[in-house]
């Protein structure tokens, strides 16, 4: 193990380490703690410039109620879910199929196709922006949830295929061969043999894609215009324009917007980190 386990260090060093940890954590999370505190402050604190001291009034209820009742944030959050969940489903489904094709079959163009998926996954969004916008306009899907979802599915299928293909390649191929000898069709091999084995990867991938899509801001601004389909990232940006200097509301809104991915992360932490590193370290 590296570095040397702290248990082997001298007692003072051990205690120092234990004391330093929470302190470092506090410092590290200071920006987020400050936001959390500000979101429960009253207007008086804001006006008096008390941003860093202990709140003199606690107005958590008022602030959050104001965010929900006087802005369309609930709608933004609903939109975010309406975009994120179908995207996760669609991208993961497509990637299972494509990852199976690339992971199980040896055919000539295999590596080339794989490289297109991997390479496309790294392109800067800006090179896609104008054509994707035009395409959405031509499809009549501009400024609609479906238009945004279709793009996200398409783009995420790059990363997801990369992920699934690597995972499937690690599976024991004997199982596939055995099923074929028993006369299983290729679809049955996929459906009955491989799919059950990739379940852990599906969970990890879904959590990851959920976070990516939830936090997307660029495509929301390019493909969505009105409140009716705006996800919470874009919505928060425009609310920020209306809440000039009302930091207690900005903070409350920011926390509301960040809550779903943070909650998912803490609940499904194992899957999330597994996904992040599984997709990454095999690259």
């Amino acid at each position: 193990m590296f570095p040397t386990p702290i248990e082997r260090a001298s007692a003072p060093t051990r205690w120092l380490y234990r004391a330093a940890l929470p302190l470092a954590l506090l410092l590290w999370l200071l920006p987020l703690i400050a936001v959390a505190l500000t979101s429960v402050r009253g207007q008086a604190d804001i006006a008096a410039g008390n941003y860093w001291g202990w709140p003199t009034q606690w107005q958590a209820w008022d602030n959050y109620a104001a965010v929900f009742s006087s802005t369309p944030i609930l709608r933004y959050i609903g939109n975010s879910f309406l975009v994120t969940l179908p995207t996760v489903l669609g991208a993961v489904a497509l990637a299972c199929l494509a990852g199976f094709a690339l992971g199980v079959y040896r055919f000539k163009a295999n590596l080339l196709v794989f490289f297109v998926f991997v390479g496309g996954n790294f392109v800067p969004f800006q090179i896609l922006m104008v054509p994707v916008r035009d395409l959405s306009l031509a499809l009549g899907l501009y400024d609609s949830l479906s238009g945004l979802i279709l793009f996200h599915i398409a783009f995420q299928s790059g990363f997801c295929t990369f992920f699934m293909r690597n995972f499937i390649r690690e599976l024991p191929m004997e199982l596939v061969e055995a099923a074929r000898i028993e006369g299983a069709s290729e679809w049955q091999v996929f459906h009955r043999v491989v799919l059950p084995l990739v379940r852990p990867a599906l969970a990890a991938l879904s959590v990851l894609v959920f976070t990516f899509i939830w936090n997307d801001y660029f495509w929301a601004t390019v493909l969505i215009q009105g409140d009716h389909a705006m996800p919470v990232t874009g919505g928060l940006k425009s609310l920020n324009g209306q809440w000039v200097a009302q930091w207690h509301l900005v903070s409350a809104g920011a926390i509301v917007a960040a809550l779903p991915p943070v909650a998912i992360f803490f609940i499904l932490q194992k899957q999330f980190i597994a996904g992040l590193t599984m997709g990454a370290t095999k690259g």
Binding site: P131, D134, L135, L137, A138, L139, G140, L141, Y142, D143, S146, T221, Q225, G226, D227, H228, S238, G241, Q242, V244, A245
Partner: protein, 414 residues
């Protein structure tokens, strides 16, 4: 020649199939309106407009889509070319020109002639006319000018400045008293445009300002340089709020309310926030921008408008709607809600002190500007306001700024 014909065609086919599947059709008698009226007062004004129109025209259902103010500016092009609504809100002057030229706005000259709008909407007629035709209906405008702290002026024995010299003298005294003469926040760029408009209109007059914003004069012209000579007299001694590039115009209001700054060149819409910040009418005064050269006064008075997209599917009702908007009593009520001035001269005007003063100012003006970012084409406006902001932060960059603007001008207006 379209660079993406094949993809577009196939996409269109797919799109049609999808639309068919979704069965999205618009009912007859429905009027779809897209506006950027996302702030409370404009939203209420448009809601009143929709309700009153429906009450008078029970056969039509009005549906308003409200867009975020900044987002609307970029999305307008998209919905005008794709799924067009029946009415859109927009701005007069050069701002509507690209859409008129691209054939995206409907010619409504017939409405103007039929309802006598040339007379009723006289003040805005020039800014609604392009190629000899009218392309929409203006419904509100608002005055610009300097809002100042009467109480602070009195406390320091200052009189309201009427000339440039007096303005400079007042500024010296305020600065000496530890008060920044002018509040401003240029993070969103446009407040710097207001300063340029007024200085240019006062130094060179309205006609020159219009010639400049329509690209006929180089930015390196000696007359433009003269504007910056005056501006220098405010920027170099530090008469503007420090760090103005970091804050929005609303962020500068607390400094004005707290008395850290004494004057604020702004549009009438700022009064609401100033009053909410705690200023009474006894404290808050309004004055015209002082005289510089011996010229007839011109003012900024941006006009908001409504238009019918060429691709609207319900133009008949859209025309009825625009006619309704042009009516005196409708404009009176809308502007009562907005706290702004009706364009229809037969309409009753709001009783607000500042609006009254502003109206007098505008009525006596020799010419009206729509504001820099509406008079100049968008790309020029962006470069211009960015240059003004840069100059205000770093006055030494002035020569460089003007040369840069000139190179942009040459390209934009070619």
């Amino acid at each position: 020649m379209n660079p993406t014909p094949l993809l577009r065609r196939s996409a269109l086919a797919l799109g049609l199939a999808l639309c068919g599947a979704l069965g999205a059709t618009v009912q007859a008698g429905t009027l779809v309106i897209n506006t950027d009226a996302s702030d409370p007062a404009p939203k209420a004004a448009w809601e009143y407009l929709a309700k009153s129109f429906m009450a008078a025209h029970p056969d039509v259902t009005v549906k308003i889509n409200t867009f975020d103010h900044e987002g609307f500016k970029t999305s307008l092009r998209n919905f005008l070319t794709a799924e067009a609504p029946d009415v859109v809100s927009w701005y007069a002057g050069n701002r509507m020109a690209p859409f008129v030229q691209a054939g995206l706005f409907e010619d409504v000259s017939d409405l103007w002639t039929r309802d006598g709008l040339h007379d009723k909407l006289k003040s805005a007629a020039p800014s609604m006319t392009l190629n000899g035709k009218q392309w929409g209906v203006p419904y509100t405008y608002y005055p610009w000018g300097i809002y100042y702290r009467k109480d602070l002026f009195a406390k320091h024995g200052l009189a309201m400045p009427k000339t440039w010299k007096e303005l400079l003298a007042v500024s010296v005294k305020l600065k000496a008293a530890g008060i920044t003469p002018f509040a401003i926040g240029t993070k969103a760029l446009w407040p710097s445009g207001g300063w340029f408009d007024y200085l240019n209109m006062r130094v060179n007059g309205h006609a020159f300002h219009m010639a400049l914003t329509s690209g006929q004069v180089p930015y390196t012209d000696a007359r433009v340089v003269a504007v910056f000579d005056r501006w220098d007299e405010l920027v170099r001694p530090g008469y503007f709020l420090a760090n103005h590039a970091a804050i929005d115009w609303q962020d500068a209001i607390p400094a004005f309310v707290k008395g850290e700054a004494a004057m604020y060149l702004m549009g009438n819409f700022a009064v609401d926030l100033m009053k909410k910040g705690g200023l009474s009418e006894a404290q808050l005064g309004f004055m015209p921008f002082p005289k510089i050269a011996d010229l007839p006064q011109a003012e900024d008075a941006p006009t908001d408008t409504a238009h019918i997209p060429s691709k609207s599917r319900n133009k008949a009702d859209a025309r009825r709607f625009l006619a309704w908007m042009a009516r005196a009593e409708v404009q009176a009520r809308m502007n009562e809600i907005l706290g702004q001035l009706p364009v229809n001269r037969e309409a009753a005007r709001p009783a607000d002190t500042y609006l009254k003063e502003g109206f007098t100012l505008l009525s006596n003006a020799q010419g009206l500007g729509q504001f820099y970012d509406r008079d100049a084409p968008a790309e020029m406006a962006k470069a211009g306001m960015e240059g003004f902001q840069r100059y205000m932060v770093k006055p030494d960059s002035r020569k460089e700024v003007l040369e840069r603007l000139e190179s942009v001008r040459k390209r934009v207006y070619k």
